[in-house]
Amino acid sequence: MTEIASDPDAALKGVADGATVLVGGFGTAGQPVELIDALIRTGARDLTVVSNNAGNGDHGLAALLAAGQVRKIVCSFPRQSDSWVFDALYRAGKIELEVVPQGNLAERIRAAGAGIGAFFCPTGVGTPLAEGKETRTIDGRDYVLEYPIRGDLALVKAHVADTRGNLLYRKTARNFGPVMATAATTTVVQVDRLVDAGAIDPEVVVTPGIFVDRVVVCPASTELAEEGAAG
């Protein structure tokens, strides 16, 4: 049953030190900034963060890293033109990095949500990122065995939720949200807008409410809010 939280702090009650947190977004698109800000305010430390990137600029995920709350980050592409916070922590030996090919990251998170124990995967065979991993040739093709990535907590940004927790996303901000929502003990979602149950066509629901524990409305920035009001 999905709970509608009054604000991001209420939505993030009970995060423990040492938690593994799945954080949606591809760069800033779909990054749940208000939830990350609330995570910073919880003061939870020693976190493992799973996200495609390692923060951009000084806000959102980058701010969480700068606050020293993250012990390890699991991501596909940490280094970007604006990842100076991560870069400095990494070079100072203050954060652990596990690089995972982007497709493996997505599929391993899906596997956690789908009850798959492990899967043989074609990506990374013969590369340094498969070193030490079990391999197998199946039907003449080589595969690497990959394991699920589960979270204690998933932070996701969606566009619209109904009161049952059903979610719609917006354009390429969808990215990791739908798989991360399935793979955490507790999934918290920030949305631009909340509507009544029945207001979303059942044919177009992207994330069914069964995967959503808490929803909190964080109205979009001015530009988006105007766009939303227009249509």
């Binding site: 109904d162 059942p202 629901v205």
Partner: protein, 221 residues
Amino acid sequence: MTTATIEQPDRGPLTRTELAQQIAADIPPGSYVNLGIGQPTTVADHLAPDSGVVLHTENGMLGMGRAAQGDEVDPDLVNAGKVPVTETPGAAYFHHADSFAMMRGGHLDVCVLGAFQVSGTGDLANWHTGEPDAIPAVGGAMDLAIGAKDVFVMMTLFDKQGRAKLVPSCTYPLTGVGCVSRVYTDVATFDLTPDGVVVTATFGTTVEELRSRLDVPLLAG
């Protein structure tokens, strides 16, 4: 979970309707629930309208409503038993892999299944009698058996020949191993716990009498 056994020796066994009511009453409000084909489907009729229970059907829907009637019948909207149903506000459709990922990933709170046999350790046999001329058909039974946080079995405690269906070890082909958490029958309700089988209620019988008819050690809750 153990609760004090309530013995009701002075009434008859539960009717099918009472059994469905019993199970419906034990499903926590707001749960996501899958009801198996056949008898378990009738549990839906007894869920309180304000329970917030959301029904899953493995052929691709959450928020399934009651059976369709008259003009509501739509061949594209059926439940797992292929019976036309309706949708409720807040429903969602999805494809089969997503639907079973939902089950297998442990996201359903409760599923209710029929059974040929259940073992004291929670093994379930409900898909195949194993008779040589029977055509095997498993459907989603094995996925449901391992997929919900709680698997409730709904059955008569004895078959037509009077043989117990709660057994030390299943003789029918298994559906799942150690997956059943609670057994609801016409004459008694059982919790299957790590400590053993706990009788939580009896109807028209006593724990003592059950002990004489079952080969499974029984604890009173």
